[in-house]
Symmetry: C2
Subunit: 334 residues, 2 copies
DNA sequence: CGAACCGATTTGATCGTTCATATTCCAATA
DNA sequence: TATTGGAATATGAACGATCAAATCGGTTCG
């Protein structure tokens, strides 16, 4: 080792300077640290990885090809995750899984060749085989989004859809809209149902509550526009619509335009996720705190790595209202 | 080594079975291969990496946080790259660079610790320091998009914007639109200027060519709508507009709606990149062959890896017209 | 019949680090 | 003075693969 030679100490001492500074005499520490700095020494990851039997990397399954990206936060999430990972001394390795293939195989492979130590899961489906398999094999992982199937899985971080929509509804009332309708996904998706329940609870508190002011549509702009249109007709003149996603909100936005209803000043509109779609169309939305989410997730996984067992308890983070023109009642004239 | 024991051969023979099968006697080969299969043996990447001094991984710099993703193909590209990488025995490692930080430092770091062997560049800017540095240091890399600054950099794969727009223009004429205008970015961006030139060349061939039928706008839906509006007025009744990006096209789309002009049947519209935006709004667009691009890029980088020097010659791939409602003149009544 | 050759396989060293276990040195204690 | 203890540092082995060179059998040939 070059540094060892230059500093006149053994390789182990250099190793200790980096990994166990407290074991090294202050004077030696300073000397070696200076040489490390001077020579720009960086420990070789392959060698570390081989000896320590860990990769310092996490796998991240990217959306299958052809998957919808519009109004999807996962791409933005990957960026935040990458940024966070650096602080946690992890690297992120992407991988894809053929849809007609055993989804577990690639996870198994990456672990077997010691390419990654664990995984960051997203888009956990109903009856998803991954959490169970990972848990059974003692593989560290965290999921972005609750693993609704099984409450005993606790390695997750999620956003509070219920409270989030509630906050959105209260925001709309505070802006002076008198009724708030809801456009969600068809019943049956845990996330969607949670958000709908948030609307029911918050809007239900108002005097003018009408449980009929809701509609549902799949996650598609065109379909959402069609589903929203009749609802928007009845919200004309001071009502507002809150949606389970920005994509749905965008659908509603185009419907409003087609109906000749002024977005914001006549009918309020709020989306969910605060994707680029919301920003581009000036639609108020509920921002998922992606940076905090990524950070929490890596904390949880690092905990697992250190203690050998999953960290207890999932974490629910609060989204925040990002106000834009679509929920601004009136630009004040002066 | 377990397999060696089970097959009754030395570890080196097992290694040869995997890496140099021709050196092994057919009978031994079969025997060892069977044991490898049976025991599910996968060579440890850390050990390989240490010995061979290569990481079998490429770095991919993700968009800075806060970067526009709407109408951006890079997220989709990363997916294709990940898929392709697997075929080329590479892994993709994402990393981010703080905007106020030396952009080279992270590249240097990843190489120094032997986390990656090379890089896949995207979004090469004018006067980008990266290609020069990488070249000077003999680091394998490919760029998605020409490195316009310096024609001596040949490690790139790009899409032919000139021809692509030309194909779009011809498509529009074939559909029966009589004039084709252009909405592009402000002059000065090589990509944008290339696409504009493609319009000039193709539209210039038509009898009714009017060089005044163009406008420009930054890459933003709202701004694009404002810039497109006057142009669209003069294209009413059988004209068409081709745009330098889907984002611009989406702006034009909203402008058409606001002007009460029927998209497609009255005025044609074509975007570029074929992102989700185009699909969601039924806008005809020029599809970048991302899978082919990723494949070509990895071929180039693998070439560098094998031969120690950059592969000669950049590659230009052709985008193809994906027709949707926005450029369909009339749904045939029956 | 021995030398030379050849393909198939094995052996020893090595990549760069960390772990486990020495060793060294010096001060405090019996 | 000899003993013990502990902090600081050094040494040998190991992680799991590949490389380079050695060995082993068996042919071929002079």
């Amino acid at each position: 080792m070059d540094v060892a030679l230059a500093a006149g100490v053994s390789r182990q001492t250099v190793s200790n300077v980096i990994n166990n500074p407290h074991r090294v005499a202050p004077q030696t520490l300073a000397l070696v640290a200076r040489e490390i700095e001077r020579l720009g020494f960086k420990p070789n990851r392959a060698a570390q990885s081989l000896r320590r039997r860990k990769a310092d990397a996490l796998g991240f399954q990217v959306n299958a090809v052809g998957e919808r990206r519009l109004g999807n936060i996962l791409d933005a999430f990957l960026v935040e995750l990458t940024v966070s990972a650096r602080r946690h001394d992890f690297h992120i390795v992407t991988f894809a899984v053929d849809s007609h293939e055993d989804p577990i195989a690639e996870y198994e492979h990456l672990l077997a060749v010691q390419m990654v130590d664990g995984f960051v899961l997203t888009s956990t489906r109903h009856a998803d085989p991954r959490p169970g398999w990972l848990l059974a094999n003692g593989v560290p992982f965290v999921s972005f989004g609750r693993v609704w199937d099984d409450p005993s899985f606790t390695s997750w971080v999620d956003v509070d859809g219920f409270s989030g929509v509630g906050a959105g509804v209260r925001h709309l009332f505070a802006q002076g809209y008198d009724r708030v309708g809801f456009l969600g996904w068809p019943e049956g998706s845990p996330v969607g149902d949670d958000r709908r329940a948030g609307w029911l609870a918050a809007a239900g508190e108002s005097a003018a509550f009408d449980a009929g002011l809701q509609a549902s549509s799949p996650q598609d702009v065109h379909a959402a526009a069609a589903a929203a249109a009749p609802l928007l007709e009845s919200l004309r003149g001071g009502g507002a619509l809150i949606c389970a996603s920005d994509t749905l909100a965008l659908g509603a936005w185009t419907a409003l335009r087609d109906l000749g209803i002024a977005v914001g000043s006549d009918v309020g509109l709020v989306g969910f996720d605060d994707t680029d779609v919301a920003e581009s169309f000036a639609i108020t939305s509920l921002r998922q705190p992606l940076a905090d989410i990524a950070d929490s997730m890596l904390d949880l996984i690092a905990h697992h790595g250190r203690h050998g067992s999953p960290a207890p308890g999932g974490q629910v983070l609060q989204p925040i209202v990002v106000q834009r023109a679509s929920s601004t009642r009136k630009s004040r004239k002066r």
